[in-house]
């Protein structure tokens, strides 16, 4: 699962940039995520991407979410609005800034799910898609670790999916939050799943002779 690697979360004039956070932290995992994607593709593991974004009329966006983005956004630019010099209206389906960045974009045959929230539970048909795939285990990378990645991981874990977080392939707007989010997964023997990294994934798939 490749979560929310959109311009809005790691590119210039996207949502995170306009909200005033440094892009280095959210863009940093791209190199690792790209490697992980290469490996799982070679291994024949299904890849599902998802994107956070709202309908053009924002009918699927809670009012407090819009309000808070306007309060913190530069020049009071919030969700659904285009920042000066920007590449599209923020977090809006169809907007350029809402697209997935080149480094980790879906290739033919990969699934792409839209969601209207941080998580997927009541705001997407993500679990419907997952159920059709018939899988029981998920490998997660994406941004941001403590917000979207963690919410999806929590929801998936609560209904029994075995979740593995690749810690070098997840970014965040705040590195302390990221660290704690990773640590939190491992409490209580793995309260939300397991944590590993791209290198171990590579070694594991190699050992299983799923990749060369």
């Amino acid at each position: 699962m490749s979560i929310d690697f959109q311009v809005d979360f790691c590119g210039e004039k996207g949502y995170v940039d306009v909200m005033g956070y440094p892009l280095s932290n959210t863009a940093n995992p791209l190199t690792f995520a790209r490697k992980a994607l290469k490996d799982v593709r070679e291994a024949g593991i299904e890849v599902v991407h998802c994107r956070e974004g709202h309908l053009p009329d924002l009918s699927d966006c809670p009012y407090n979410k819009i309000l808070r983005s306007k309060i913190i956004g530069q020049d009071a630019v919030g969700i659904g609005e285009q920042p000066k010099g920007g590449v599209g209206r923020l977090l809006l389906r169809g907007s350029e800034s809402w697209g997935i960045v080149k480094e980790v974009e879906p290739i033919e045959g990969e699934i792409l799910v839209d969601k209207a929230g941080k998580g997927v539970g009541y705001c997407s048909d993500f679990f419907l898609v997952l159920q059709q795939l018939g899988v029981s285990h998920l490998i997660l990378c994406g941004i941001t670790t403590d917000v979207c990645v963690h919410t999806i991981m929590r929801e998936a874990n609560d209904i029994g999916y075995w979740c593995l977080l690749l810690k070098d392939s997840v970014g965040a707007t705040d590195m302390d939050n990221r660290k704690s989010a990773i640590h939190s997964v491992k409490m209580q023997g793995g309260v939300f799943g397991w944590v590993s990294d791209t290198e171990h994934l590579h070694e594991g798939l190699k050992e299983a002779k799923l990749i060369a």
Copy 2:
């Protein structure tokens, strides 16, 4: 909302104790939560409690959740099993350790919802109950901050509820995780809601003339 203040999370020989975590951290918010409950009750605000627990046959408990609890539990005692000298089978509906502790137990007329997960989304009818109440704002206290409280807050926030976390009324098994979980709420102008404390709640209700 008073979340998971059960013996299993803050009492002796409950789940958290058996998993090897110090109870001081999870039991600590009880005094503050008790004050908050007193205030909201006086103000006429609806109180909803919830409890995490599974059916006696564990049919609603994912296999990996059982397995992980056995791996970390003292003497390999996991969910559904009774520890030596314990007060009931861990996290099991009907068990003594599953009950809410005296300090913050529900009083007559208050709602009590059971859930089979950290969150409530696909594992309870919590949002059905909430919708019948017709409320739009939630005040949250409970344990543990970074696990159950945060998961419910994320799910509720994603569908538009205005959530307020009382930071002195939430405990955790790890104080760094707790700190980050509280900090994480406030990112992006309040990505999961707001943070306040019992004292400010008291002052606010007083100012609004909802309490004496």
Copy 3:
């Protein structure tokens, strides 16, 4: 799946009786459902029962559901109330009339799920339980055909479960509604699944050497 074979739906002084419907129509499928249960148990197929019922404070019961039951109920007795000479408060968890009737009651090792609605989607953790079982196909019997059985069948079918309705093992308060509900399943090549009966199930399991 054995759906809502409760006193409230097919027994004296239960909900359906108090609402003024003849019990013969809802109780009639019991003999067939009993046979079907015997066969699937012998075949080693997992049996899941469910029950409709509400919390004692009715916090999980929509107000219009309570109101409508009072309007149509004899002596204005509705959900949560006990009819004169009755066997418990109607559709209430823990009440005697809420229990499953002897003929098809769960035996040891079978799963029993509670739900607060006709369906299961947002008012139970039914799909969580189903997902832990890892099954893809459901055989349905129960009452009433056009209300609870059909709602669950629709929800399960929408997320991809292969559903088979046993037409002699489903009852209803209105036999025309029952007939159409069965017919409706078969539209569009099986818009909600398939229809068969107890005898064909028996023959099929025999042919597959799953029963003697």
Copy 4:
């Protein structure tokens, strides 16, 4: 709520046509639904439309749904495929046949929700959108009565929405199923809500001075 008035359900070379059902039955309610829409728009009542359709790769379409459509479809043409002389791939998002027919298409400011099933529960963010609107009552028209309209009505009713079905504004592939579906709503004092028609809606809105 205007449900699934798409070419696929009431237009030539759409899904229903290819499945071999007469279009007269599904297209018939359009005149009435158009009147109802005119009235509620004048009254200032929010209009929400929905559409059934799948992603181009059918990743959100259960396999049995695809299979059954191929079995019954003319020339084995099923969901996701284009019939000879057709106006697009059947039930596919973005396809021409998937669009809403002219007579009842959304006007500016009206909400349009996509769903991947008959109902909306686990296959759309419909209830998220509804919750943001803050409404408690729904007026339903659309096609088909016994399939999509009824499924949505059941799901909405189960979580407490007050539902009103306009019986002259709902069509079906089978008129007996339609009749029973309407009758079924009224069982048990209104087990799924109420039934009325366009004329009564008009009179009611007039009496309430919401329309001229």
